[in-house]
Amino acid sequence: MVQERVLPSFSTAQTRLTHDEGLTVYEDMVLGRQFEDKCAEMYYRGKMFGFVHLYNGQEAVSSGVIKAMRSDDYVCSTYRDHVHALSSGVPARQVMAELFGKATGCSKGRGGSMHLFSAEHNLLGGYAFVSEGIPVATGAAFQSKYRRDALGDESADQVTACFFGDGASNNGQFFECLNMAALWKLPILYVVENNKWAIGMAHDRATSQPEIYKKASVFGMAGVEVDGMDVLAVRAAAQEAVARARAGEGPTLIEALTYRFRGHSLADPDELRSKAEKDFWFARDPIKRLANYLIEQNLATQDELTEIDKRIQSLIEDAVTFALDSPEPDPSELYRYVFAEDE
């Protein structure tokens, strides 16, 4: 048996989840999982290129946090960004088309897997360099604070969620931004998805204090540890952090203990992680866990869930068809979007 960090326990006794909310979260997680499985298929069929990082296994984090936020809140991601984009409301068609490099993609075929953006959905991006999204997200949160405090706009109560990995939490930008966010009480959630690995670097080999949430305390910031395989636990932590941020009480560091079910990217042979470790985490599949909860609590029937699975399946087939049928970017527009004047 591998030695795993003890996952924090979470009691659902206090959970208030309606039928609709339960199904929304379930659907979002299924969308994330099926979308990524389809990406793997399309990648091996030569429809998408470059580095493609899938999110399988970590769905509870994206759905738990983003579905606890408002649509006018901001989300900032990394190169592992497909599912954060989907949870933020970017249509699967636009994400798939972007991965195919098409003109109809959310970044017009200029970005690719690691650079998904949508101004319409307040998705601040996919960032391909580890940690570089953290300052950008901090700036979006600063903007909300600026509008509310310096310009007196009471409606500017948007919160920003900033996602990144355990590996990113050893970078200076993480510490620098925690300092500034706590100093200025910025409305932001720093969500570390601790999946134990940074490519082939085991988290314990990279950091002197593996419990990342504890790093919040030195900045006088709230830090919480949460079972990242339990969407209800993540959602509860996010709701509390969002409320704190919206009330002007400052940032929260959320460490979600999670695991990626696939290699680092589709190019990774995934040879370092042990079978025992994988089995430990596969047994905690967050989608199955939510499905069981919904059925046990009579919040949904198996038929309803199966119905959702099927609907998502056809939505993804539709996204692939859309991406395949979409035009390539116009070569005469090679320079378009370098400068602000290009709309």
Binding site: C106, F117, E132, G139
Partner: protein, 327 residues
């Protein structure tokens, strides 16, 4: 007309733009209470508050990224690099996120951001405080680069840079902050993409920018007495280069001397030379002459420092040689 020091011209530009648009704000090290390392933001925090004139921790890469995020979401940040050289620590945020993000996002976001501050070779400040970042940043797509050189153009260009919807690197020179000039009382802006014809002439085109403009002016005084008639162009826009103005001059003089403080290898002059050869080769009567700094870390010793950057007598010499067809 009011006689104004260059650093005050910059301060007026920021003050006027902050008053005009509440989305404009300043951030950087010691910009607030301290007033900026060269007093460009002196007392602005008293007028606009500590949030709009934000003293940041010494965390260049992160506060630059923060400004990018603020710009993406509708604000118009002005970053002051306490010394522009320190922004080497922000290279990642400037290149990847300020410069390239609009393109990689397929036009989803604009980044209206000004990054300004003191740079260039001062008086014995040592190598690290004597950087010419324009050489390093010129290859980054999506960035505009502007160098001011007089109180008049400093004010008008900075105001235009703040109003521009693109990320603009705005270079000031440590030795020019105390230049004095009468400035118009009325509001004015200058185009950041146009070179300035400093002196019209027929013999040879001298292309220069920032402090070297003043070295060229000194040299021209000597040359005029000896009957030479050079045309002097201050590039102003280091990226993109204003080839309309540059081209018109070269078509007239057919001779080019570049005078820059940048290092010779991979500097602005190197790019300019290549572009002139690409576009205007048939117009040239001889090779483009390049007077640049030596390819060494700027030495501390005053005499060695003077040897490192171009001095007015070298410019006089170069013009005479070019006119005598000796190059």
């Amino acid at each position: 007309m009011a006689e104004t020091l260059l650093y005050n011209a910059l301060r007026e530009a920021i003050d006027e733009e902050m008053a005009r648009d509440s989305n404009v704000f300043v951030l950087g090290e010691d910009v607030g209470h301290y007033g900026g390392s060269y007093k460009v933001t002196k007392d602005l925090y008293k007028k606009y508050g500590e949030f709009r004139v934000l003293d940041t921790p010494i965390a260049e890469n992160s506060f630059t990224g923060m400004a990018v995020g603020a710009a993406m979401t509708g604000l118009r940040p002005i970053i002051e690099g306490m010394n522009m050289g320190f922004l080497l620590l922000a290279f990642n945020q400037i290149a990847n996120n300020a410069g390239m993000l609009r393109y990689t996002s397929g036009g989803n976001f604009k980044i209206p951001l000004v990054i300004r501050g003191p740079g260039g070779v001062g008086r014995q400040l040592g190598a690290e405080h004597s950087q010419r970042l324009e050489a390093y940043f010129q290859g980054v797509p999506g960035l505009k680069m502007v160098a001011c050189s007089t109180p008049y153009n400093a004010k008008g260009l900075l105001k235009a840079a703040i109003r521009d919807d693109n990320p603009v690197l705005f270079f000031e020179h440590v030795l020019l902050y105390n230049l004095k000039q009468d400035l118009p009382e009325t509001d004015y802006v200058l185009p950041i993409d146009r070179a300035e014809v400093v002196r019209e002439g027929a013999d040879v085109t001298i292309l220069t920018y920032s402090r070297m403009r003043h070295h060229v002016t000194q040299a021209v005084k000597v040359l005029e007495k000896e009957g030479y008639d050079p045309e002097v162009i201050d590039l102003i826009s280091l990226k993109p280069l204003d080839f309309e103005t540059i081209g018109a001059s070269i078509r007239k003089t057919h001779r080019v001397i570049i005078v820059e403080e940048c290092m010779r290898s991979g500097g602005i002059g190197a790019e300019l030379t290549a572009s002139i050869n690409d576009r205007l080769f048939d117009e040239l009567d001889g090779p483009v002459v390049r007077l640049a700094s030596q390819d060494i870390p700027t030495p501390y010793n005053g005499a060695l420092e003077n040897l490192t950057i171009v001095q007015p007598p070298q410019i006089v010499d170069a013009v005479k040689k070019v006119m005598a067809n000796q190059v």
